[in-house]
Symmetry: C2
Subunit: 395 residues, 2 copies
Amino acid sequence: MKPLDGIKILDLTRILSGPFCTMILGDMGAEVIKLEPYPAGDDSRGNPPFLKEESMYYVSLNRNKRSVVVNLKEQVGKDLFKKMVKDVDVVIENFKPGAMTKLGLNYDVLKELNSRLIYCAVSGFGQTGPYSERAAYDSVIQAMGGIMSVTGQPGGIPTRVGTSIGDITAGLFAAIGILGALRVRELTGKGQMIDISMLDCLVAIVEGQIARYFGTGVVPKPVGNRHATATPFDLFKTKDGHIIVAVQNNVMWEKFCKVINAAQLFVDPRFVTNATRCDNEAALKSILEPILQQKTTEEWIPLFVEGGVACGPLNNIADIVKDPHILAREMIVDVPNHAKLGTVKYPGVPIKYSDTKCSIERPAPILGQHSEEILREFSCSEEEIKSLKEIGIIK
Amino acid sequence: MKPLDGIKILDLTRILSGPFCTMILGDMGAEVIKLEPYPAGDDSRGNPPFLKEESMYYVSLNRNKRSVVVNLKEQVGKDLFKKMVKDVDVVIENFKPGAMTKLGLNYDVLKELNSRLIYCAVSGFGQTGPYSERAAYDSVIQAMGGIMSVTGQPGGIPTRVGTSIGDITAGLFAAIGILGALRVRELTGKGQMIDISMLDCLVAIVEGQIARYFGTGVVPKPVGNRHATATPFDLFKTKDGHIIVAVQNNVMWEKFCKVINAAQLFVDPRFVTNATRCDNEAALKSILEPILQQKTTEEWIPLFVEGGVACGPLNNIADIVKDPHILAREMIVDVPNHAKLGTVKYPGVPIKYSDTKCSIERPAPILGQHSEEILREFSCSEEEIKSLKEIGIIK
């Protein structure tokens, strides 16, 4: 069995935040029915790059989901949607606040049809508050949420996190929220609404910076790659790339000096304690840089590992997808049977249970791949399905 | 009621990943008993900055928890721990793999005492795989997990995300895993073990970069603040700071040109479509920069908002804690009654339910603040408590 066996999710989300949430819930065994807008589907189906005309952006986020295309702008489509809502556990959407009300399909309407329904809305700024109706993109939220102000090289320009961390964090908190609401429903028999804001979620993950600011009054700045209070604890160039080494105290410092064959550094008065190493960080870095550039990253790593020094290579994406540990953890997996692409490679599921298993049962669907089978499951007759197609309600 | 009312968590975690997880579960109503090592407690109690000798790092992550200090190195302490395990729902730890086995307290031992126990282990590399026993720090995991390779200015040095995103993402996935295991237990009556690796979790959140790499064979690089396929969609300097503007198509471009009073740009052949704007991005940026520097960020924002252009200020931490929207969303809240600090300001809970409420009932505990009351709840007599103190088992 899987943790969410028996849970049915009607998923109106598109692009990233909502789909990331339902991807996790699908990995955990929920049945995710992705209801895509008629006729073109999730906007992200138009996002590059494409392989055999399928958006890899879409393919990546929509594994373990089935696709049905429904025209929610027409009354017949709305009726079909309402019929489906009666028979699912969760509805999730990530429209701008107000969009579901305009369609006549907001939570207040849907809960009348299904009092056990859990309704999750994910948006840039949330359903309430002065910015609620503003358009949001991940970059805008990263700028407004503070994370950009602490990311970047010291003295340099504040820098966007290279993944869409605003969307992803909102997707993770939405998954947590839905799981919590399922437990409440177990106890009370009642569903409820969950309001997730990308901006709220980014505020939640800069908790450390907020605490430091309230503690000191000093506004945190971009910190670069160096540890603020330990040296050497930084990214260094090697002969062919980079390595990160993490020395937190004198025990590790001695080990580090042994590995790089530089006993003289260990006794150098400038570097005898972590405090003096921090004071003389630039001098130490200028000594260490040429040493670390004498070998490749792949040569250094086993030396530091065997020497007991925490370290790691700076992996790019090509490196991680072939890393033996990442492969051993099943964090890159082949999933067969994409309707156009055949086998697709996916990041695995990072929740590893001892008994129940999360898994990727199917790759992303092509547009409307499961429209007919899903409608049959919701008791539509063959005639009905045929007629809905003809009048432009489903695809 | 709250979603996790009635769930008791025995929390051995320290520093960041595990405490972030149990903070969320505590916000959701779980009773979190933080079992800290004797005599000095969670290592992060030594992390700066300090206010009245309390670590703000620790204070930030340990709200909604009670502290009991137990010496797990002594048999009497182990016995006390085992007694507590019989009566809780979840045990969570983030030691290096093997540490609980050395203590004689791993999952195999504990499940014999409590078959309903959910045991979550969070670590840098997970309980299995070739790197499993290596030491891990957030920076090392960020380097190895690929996120650093896509963060930074174009052509610049790969850059660490300014928050400890490796720890935080692991904490979020651990919370999801525990909630899933609670549902399984509801159905089967049995607990299980969950193995969360920080590296796995970072691989999971670079899904988009992995998909792009598999789709094109091109290794993603640091992307800076600019959108890859839309222009102008970037961070710009203003008179007093920065602003991010997001123009995705020609409708928005026309609005943008109106706001900045530059109708001539809208008809300029270099900038007539998004494609040509992308081709002439540098030229356009050099024109826009001096214009945007004519006003302050605070002057520009309402103009763009009213003009229908997605935008946002580049907020630092001092800005977000006083932002009217963030305050209206209760994302900065005062929590009274810290034993030494009085009222503490915390980021709020980003999961907003319509019926059940998450909340922050208490600030972080001082070391051993609740040792006695907790032991009483686990049926220790006053005499026992006194004796455990005298022989150095509790504090």
